[in-house]
Subunit: 225 residues, 4 copies
């Protein structure tokens, strides 16, 4: 068998898979996983129902493969090689960039996130874990390193908990993203992300308390609720 033919075939198979997954993602995001039908996905992919099964084992298999082939490239290299900041001003600039990028991505992939959120809780544990690893973990780890390094250089508090903080900052934005983009599908407050992002980053860096108050304060030491 000529190797060329095999390559061509492999490429065409890849194209078909992408074509189907795009159709599936589209239908899933409009109807949800349960509400989507293979028939509709096939129509969207301009294929017959049977053909779908030449490339994927089941409807759930489609779902599981969507992030791998479709969203992957977008989610992973979020802040791959963010430089370590030298000053708070630089930190603020970098964090705004990072946060802005995160917002853009979530907004761009809101349809997929809907599917993700509505399906995940009822997937098999294995599928769930595989799914989860794709998402915020990586971003959080990058940010964690960023904070840890920055703290060592005195750009952040020495007593800052980088694990918690690295999730708190995206969380601030997540609230807006979740309600506006994913759940409601429309804006709820009168501020745009160009106002939200700087404000959130500023709070993250300098807090909500007035300047005088900050001067007196030390690190929290636990004790909850």
């Amino acid at each position: 068998m000529p190797r060329v033919a095999a390559e061509v075939r492999a490429k065409r198979e890849g194209a078909r898979r992408t074509q189907i997954l795009e159709a599936a993602a589209h239908v899933f995001s409009r109807k949800g996983f349960a509400g989507a039908t293979i028939s509709e996905i096939a129509r969207a992919a301009k294929l017959s129902e049977g053909s779908i099964y030449n490339y994927f084992r089941s409807k759930e298999d489609l779902l599981i493969n969507i992030p791998q082939h479709l969203v992957q490239s977008v989610l992973v290299p979020l802040a791959g090689d963010a430089p370590v900041p030298a000053t708070p001003e630089e930190a603020e600039r970098l964090l705004r960039l990072l946060a802005g990028a995160m917002v853009d991505r979530v907004r761009a992939h809101a349809p997929f996130l809907k599917v993700f959120l509505s399906t995940l809780p009822y997937l098999s544990p294995a599928a769930r874990r595989a799914y989860m690893q794709l998402l915020p973990t990586y971003a959080a780890e990058v940010l964690e390193r960023f904070l840890r390094e920055g703290a060592r250089r005195g750009v952040f508090r020495k007593d800052l908990n980088p694990v918690i903080a690295a999730r708190a900052l995206p969380g601030m934005l997540l609230m807006f993203l979740m309600t506006q983009e994913v759940l409601l599908g429309r804006q709820m407050i009168r501020y745009g992300y160009d106002e939200i992002v700087p404000e959130a980053v500023h709070i993250f860096l300098y807090g909500a308390a007035p300047r005088e108050a900050r001067a007196r304060i030390r690190h929290p030491e636990g004790g909850r609720t």
Copy 2:
């Protein structure tokens, strides 16, 4: 017809509805909306399938009515009448209480939140809006007032945007709650909420930057992405 009988009837009908909705909420949270069957809900409610249709028009009708009867009372009056703080220390204490309460509630209702998240994006817009109003909005408005008042009294920065900030604080916690309680169902980081909540509140109040840095800083003024 004696009015007493009518009252008794109405009360019994209400009891039946509650009984059914509780069963439905229970089954929905284990199986999801699509995965739940009327048969299973009927069994959980110790009724027959037919009887459910004497009280609700359809399966979706059950879903729509769950928050009205069940969750409302639990989620809404989160911080109904939080006092206005006089000092930053008191604000920190109050915010810790508020945040802790929010965490407790979300954790207690995680199963229902799963249903909420998985179903909401695909409901009719009207149902979606009705659903949404019950949840974080109200809490956010309470917090918003709290911040606005506090700012006026100098406990928070004068230039703090209370609308954004009131959503940023719950968001910080939301990140942990979403991934751990709702999506994954297990702890992901090595800190418990008794460490997360104070740290988040502290960041919210005083920021991640070191004290010296804060002294120099002014308010952000927009410019994004």
Copy 3:
């Protein structure tokens, strides 16, 4: 709950099951298991497709239950209490009766036997075993006892192997039954069962060899092929 209602319900359920199984047996015997469709069975049972599944878990479940509820009573008490013969003449008379009864039964249930034969080899081992026990085993054991007792009383050869002989006699007839009734569905030779049965029984009792030859013969002593 009144017990009477439960009884009525149980009886009606039994009637429905029988009704469905009869329809299934009918369709299976015409089309085979694989060729039959639930839709056709439902039509034959004058029910909707869905109703079938209120009484049986699957198409295979129908198949497995057919002998239990339908054919059982016919196959089991074949020669339940055949008297022990005192003379060879009586033995011949009794064996003709027995063989004739067997022929009648197989012919009466030929449609079911078709299904049985075509399906059995591809059932799960457990189902297969359960299925098998219903059929020739019992008949063979009755005959075995009959031969063993007869041999003790001198009506059959003392050195006759009753286990083998008890299967050889039905086997003689089985050849005709299998080819004519089950496989071909029409007569293949010019003799009817009223001639076949006596001849087979006679051979079974007195052999194909001429009288003179028999006088000289002893028992076989193994050594095969």
Copy 4:
């Protein structure tokens, strides 16, 4: 066109057909006709699915052609030219050989016989007839001639019905073969074929009745059930 090429082509076509039929027989016997797929047969034949349709019109066409090309040569010439026996002792020896050969063949082809049994009842009448002629008929006719000749020479009873008897002897063994080899796939009684065959042949020749009884007996004269 050169005739040589045509011959080569015909021969290659024959080889391809055999290759496919062997694969089909193999798959059919493991999965049954309905359970087998063209895809699996193609894999077993080391061909593509499409190629099969260059040689056979349909899946059923494969089934119908299996005996012609495969089983024919094995099953047919069972006792092609059995010599006519001169004495009862020789007859017994020959019959044992014949019966043993039959047992061996059935056992060797048990997998195919399963397919045969499960498929035949639901084939078209024509296919059924074609199928049937290959099998026991021919063997029975050989045995019939053997018995008829032997009777003429006084080795068997003059009043023996050779048509019936020629089917009764194989039938004796058929009972064991059917239950053990075809239906159950495992031994059911504690005797091996090396004991079953001689015993069955002995019964066939000399009967189950004791010697004294035989001396008194005449031919049966009908009258049934």
